[in-house]
């Protein structure tokens, strides 16, 4: 297996920008809405899912298989690094450990259901077959 250096650099660069964008948005949202509920991570994952749908719709169905440079930079790097599952898991566990079972369930279900719908919406808006 050969790994292209250009591809790896594109993925890393996109990942750096995505991670910093995630920090910026989650800080902004936490300042506005407070830190009692993980609104920041929710906002990041829902917006990232919508953008991923748009991108997949624009680039076409063959994109993930034949990973071209645009896909490596924007999908695998930028949006892949922007969205996160680790924070979602940790924050859901923390809510549950605080005895806030409903908030924990809501966090998980809203992320999954609205996130997948946002992805389909983005795909549909960009002209993908939905």
């Amino acid at each position: 297996m050969t790994i292209g250096l250009t591809g790896l650099l594109l993925v890393a660069g996109g990942g750096a920008l995505g991670g910093m964008g995630r920090l910026a948005l989650s800080n902004l949202v936490a300042r506005r809405l407070g830190a009692a509920f993980p609104w920041g991570t929710l906002a990041v994952n829902l917006s990232g899912a919508l953008l991923m749908g748009l991108l997949a719709g624009v680039l076409g169905p063959s994109a993930p298989g034949g990973a071209g440079p645009v896909w490596q930079l924007l999908a695998i790097g930028l949006l892949g690094g922007y969205t996160t599952v680790s924070s979602l898991s940790l924050q859901t566990l923390t809510l549950w450990q605080q005895g806030r079972t409903h908030a924990a369930l809501a966090n998980l279900l809203v992320t999954l259901v609205v996130g997948l719908l946002a992805l389909v919406l983005g795909w549909w808006l960009a002209g993908g077959p939905a």
Binding site: G15, A16, G18, R22, N45, M52, A75, I76, G81, S87
Partner: protein, 132 residues
């Protein structure tokens, strides 16, 4: 921490995490086959374990290296390593291929592994902090 330092730490950590996820996604289909998104399933489960372990350890050892490196390790590395958007896209692709039950299995297995990972990582981090 000064704002720009937090951004730099998260940026570098996220670049490393994202690159490692990319390498796993290149290596895994050759090992377990391309029919199911095993690579994303694995990184998301492992990343959930790691973030909870770092957070639990850092919360008890507040002056240690893990606590100081928290932005790099947690929001940076674990945040970039795991991905929700690619998980969603893979689910959509399975649905598009008419493999609805496989898509459902992917979502359910993912959620179970994310939460089990975080729970087990939290315990491991707490135990490691008690020993340190």
């Amino acid at each position: 921490m000064i704002a720009w330092r937090a951004y730099a730490a998260v940026g570098v950590g996220s670049a490393l995490g994202t690159s490692l996820r990319y390498l796993v996604s290149l290596a895994m289909p050759g090992i377990v086959g391309p029919a199911f998104p095993w690579a994303t399933l694995a990184v998301n489960a492992l990343g959930s374990w790691l973030i909870a372990a770092f957070a639990a350890y850092g919360a008890r050892r507040t002056t240690g290296r893990v606590a100081r490196w928290q932005p790099f390790l947690v929001a940076g590395f674990c945040g970039g390593f795991t991905t929700f958007s690619l998980f969603g896209l893979e689910t959509l692709r399975l649905l598009e291929q008419g493999r609805a039950s496989l898509a459902l299995a992917y979502v359910l297995l993912s959620v179970v592994l994310w939460l089990a990972g975080a729970w087990s990582g939290h315990r491991a981090g707490r135990r490691a902090a008690a020993r340190a």
